[in-house]
């Protein structure tokens, strides 16, 4: 519990810990700063708009039941997302408070500031730290279950003799994935984001200090399973690596274009299952290239080991050159 503000709902806190540690080690060491509040307030929005409920995005505002502001939402053209090109589309929230704003002199301040400025600055700070320590850092993103953890387990084990790898695991709850990495013998730190559906640069800054990887080594960050939100949050990594498995739709690159546009590498996993599914690798690659011409592809099975040689080669070359 936080003494200052009482924002102590454990589910809403970001925690950072290592396997074997039950209590979170970094919970409140930052005191009751705004970050804590962010998590708390984010919790109030109990539903998430950003997971992959395809076709469920057409909601109005009326089911936000804990939204007890009496705003007079006047959404003209509320559903303009389907045809936004003809016009600039002002969503005016006319908050219908009859307050006497009038007596103070109102002034306009021009900001022109990127909303993600804070995260971007922290990410650049991380990047500087990684460069200073010669760390090669990858940010692995995918839908839940595409095989991020399995690929990491396999990669760590196969490269054990010549490449030191440590891992930052991101998940909303549980130490599950960290325990799986721990079993391979690699150093690992788990970030639990609570209700947050992506890692941000601040969490990585805290986790990397806890992980304290040796200079010149490779660090893999497994992001929260989600193809939407992590696309916006730079962590300071060298590359985003997006993983898609053949049990998913081969049109995912155009359904989640921002993630594929932000990534440098696309791993197509579970190719051992290709005979049993409709996934068309060529089509997937074509779609992905429409979003990102420079994307580099690996077709692998993290289970059978098929295709991993090229991936390992890429890792060694990249880690060697950029480190």
């Amino acid at each position: 519990m936080c003494d200052t503000c009482g924002c102590g709902d454990p589910e809403s806190l970001v925690t950072i810990r290592k396997p074997g540690e039950n209590e979170s080690i970094m919970d409140h060491n930052r005191g009751c700063d705004d970050h804590r509040h962010e998590e708390k307030h984010a919790e109030e929005a109990t539903h998430c708009h950003c997971h992959e409920h395809e076709g469920e995005h057409g909601h109005g505002h009326n089911h936000h039941n804990d939204h007890h502001h009496d705003h007079d939402h006047q959404h003209q053209n509320h559903h303009g997302h389907e045809h936004p090109h003809e016009h600039l589309h002002d969503h005016d929230h006319d908050h219908d408070h009859d307050h006497a704003h009038s007596q103070g002199q109102s002034r306009t301040i021009t900001l022109e500031q990127n909303v993600l400025l804070k995260n971007n600055l922290l990410a650049e700070r991380n990047r500087g730290y990684f460069v200073a320590k010669n760390l090669f850092v990858l940010n692995l993103v995918s839908s839940p279950g595409s095989g991020k953890t399995t690929l990491l387990e396999r990669t760590i084990t196969d490269l054990k003799s010549d490449q030191m790898i440590s891992v930052i695991e991101g998940d909303q709850q549980t130490l599950q994935d960290a325990n799986r990495i721990d079993a391979t013998g690699a150093p690992v730190v788990q970030i639990n984001t609570g209700t947050g559906c992506h890692l941000d640069a601040d969490m990585i800054q805290r986790a990397i200090k806890e992980l304290n990887p040796p200079d010149g080594s490779l660090v893999c960050i497994e992001n929260v399973g989600n193809l939407v939100c992590p696309a916006l949050f730079d962590l300071g990594e060298a590359h985003k690596v997006v993983i898609i498995s053949v049990t998913e739709g081969d049109d995912k690159p155009i359904k989640y274009p921002n993630m594929f546009a932000e990534s440098d590498v696309c791993i197509i996993n579970k190719i051992d299952l290709l005979p049993y599914v409709d996934f068309d690798v060529e089509r997937c690659v074509t779609y992905a290239r429409q979003v990102n011409r420079d994307l580099k592809f690996f077709q692998i099975s993290a289970k059978t080991g098929d295709g991993l040689k090229d991936w390992y080669q890429w890792l060694k070359t990249e880690a060697g050159t950029s480190v």
Partner: protein
Amino acid sequence: MHEMSLALNIIELAEQAARDANATSITAIEIDVGEIAGVMLDALEFSLSVATRSTLAEEAKLTLHLIPGSAKCKDCGRTFHLSERWAVCPLCGGLSFDILAGKELTIKSIDIE
């Protein structure tokens, strides 16, 4: 949902600027959201209405401008509307283009008193 993180960032930036200007309240916030910025307007609006609670911006009028995406084709040099991150040039079928607009995620201005 990342819209909540964005909303909190927006309010934080707005409050910071308002405090720097010794303001006691924020009466309006204007935000540009690009059509292909990867942000859902509905979700951002809702998040902002939550994020403004108990802040200087509690009663601020929030205006979100959707900035249309536009791109310049590298093959034919013409400019076209880009409603998705992936597209082919509707004029020549070209696949590569430079994005001119649509990725904005900018807090434009605030009104304070």
